[in-house]
Amino acid sequence: MKKRLEREIINCDLLVVGAGLAGCMAAIKGADQGLDTIVVEKANAYRSGAASTGVDHIWAHFPEIQGPIGYTAEDLIEDHMDKVGGMIHEDLLRTITLNALDRIHDLEKMGVKVRYEDSKLPGGYILVRQIHSVVNTLNFDGRDMKIKMTKEMKKRGAKIINRVMITGLLKKDGVVIGAVGVGTRNKKLYIFKAKAVIMSTARISGGRMFNEPGPGAGTSFNVRWPGSETGDGKIAAFNAGAELINLEFSHHRVNFKNFVRGGGLPYNSYSPAGQGINAGGDVIMPQEKDIFENSDNGIYNAPKLKLIDELNQGRGPIYCDLTQGTEEEIKFSEWSLTHEGGGYALLHLMKNAGVDFRTHKLEMGPGEIELGNFGAGGIYVDDKCHSTVPGLFAAGDEMGGVPLGCAPGALATGWYAAEQAEIYIKDNNTAGDVEEETVEQLEALCLSFLEKEDGYKWQDSQIALNRIMSYYATNMKSETMLLRGLENLDYLQNHNDIQATNAHELMRCLEMHNLIENGKLIMQGNLERKESRKIKSAPIQTRLDYPEQNDAEWNCALSQRLSEEGNLIFAKRQFRRG
């Protein structure tokens, strides 16, 4: 008799996939509107997602502070498009800009501290300058916001199902009617029937795609974005026929040399005194308060690349230096780092090493390659966060189109996607019978890993993927290299003889399957976009055989989708100015 995995069928109105900032907000809003809402999470909502152990900064428009200087929300939208650059879905950016402060106030009602007695600003906020030409990024006690949001979801009646990895979407007559996944601690198949699905499954952790040696390869998940972010939502959406955009874009960062996580020092919202220096002590990245005066090249990424370039010029090593800072500035950095993802661990690490901002410089280096942030890759949606497949919405980092949307983007679009999903559900009662095919496919894939004998460990596949991606799809890209890279990925997927001896390893095996599929989409995008492109002097796509930027042909988003016949369809999408 054919072996079967245990199954559970769960019904709801709204299914939210991924309980990060966007997913939590979507579930809160969904339940608040009276929808029978389920949020399904691969880890545990208390500490999952990029906001796991904190976010200390959210940009927003504060009318009571920026109003008196005549800086309107529309000015902020213009400013974002000017300072960040790149391809921006203006309608979504407007949604974020007009709603971010309301979402901050929602967090406050959940018990997150956002106002301070020693503030000198109206409203009691502590604001710093981060992305825009005004001081409009809130610093706050965000360390435990995920815990507070999880409690709020429960309070509002949203049901949380933790430790289930969603791998596919269920469709009926071209409409999404649910999702299917597997329990990461019990190997059970979960079949969710829903009237609408919001995908809030984050960007792909660049470290798991490009790092060498690969994460988990006897090392650790020393990655900037959560190692659990393996593009599961992208592959599920792609296989359901949804368009994905801008997956080919990636960019380099500067990070602490050995500890990839740990905030964005020296220059970020939480480091007013931080400066980037070379071996000779020359200041390459000035302090935050000075850097904005020379912002022609984009304030966010270009200065970091300038610091990395010191290494190529023979003036390394490079350091983050706060020793020039006042005691007040350093105390501020330590406070805000306590609330920023990984910052708490960073301070723990520094303490153990006897390293102090007051007396020591911290060595920096080229960080992991990042996907999705400046390029804003992800599921292509309209101004209602609705994807090209009816019933499928996307929010947060999973949604393509808003570079540096970050935390405000996740909070605002999560809430907004649930609002739009509710309208869709009212107009379209689409619950249908589940097509067995998608469920059978997942079961067969799971069993192929579980029943393998003498198979490799998933880490073997991880190392192979990282080696392929870093060799063929980073700084030596050309048509012939990318074609060879795709052959390598196809070979890897066809020989991915990895074995799962338990539910946890099954999750990792399925992640490898998804990462390899995402790798193909990245390379196919690299191959199709026949140009090199920069955002404000920071490269996001480099082709050695097409070194010039080609605005006539390629100043647009590149979308990829799977046709009913199984063909890959490319399309160009313009969404600037709506």
Partner: protein, 83 residues
């Protein structure tokens, strides 16, 4: 490496096992958390922050640590040139 549990302080409340975003813990039959997958630790600090007993410490692997700058050599080689 990764996460160290002081079992003298642990009250087996399951917080670390429940919340870990990378699922590095398993729950052993004798009702204790075990760091089964240390190489998958993200060092986010959730177990360390949330443990109500302070029973958990993070031990970063050698390759993730800061080498202090300024640094004081412990075993500096004395070099003499014969040319």
């Amino acid at each position: 490496m990764a996460i160290k549990i002081n079992y003298d302080l642990c009250t087996k409340c399951k917080t670390c096992y429940t919340r870990c975003p990378e699922d590095v813990f398993t729950w052993r039959e004798d009702k204790t958390p075990v760091v089964t997958y240390p190489y998958e630790c993200w060092y986010c600090g959730s177990c360390y922050i949330d443990c109500p007993e302070g029973a958990i410490t993070m031990d970063h692997p050698l390759f993730m640590r800061f080498v202090p700058e300024p640094y004081e050599y412990k075993n500096k080689t004395i070099i003499k040139r014969e040319y």
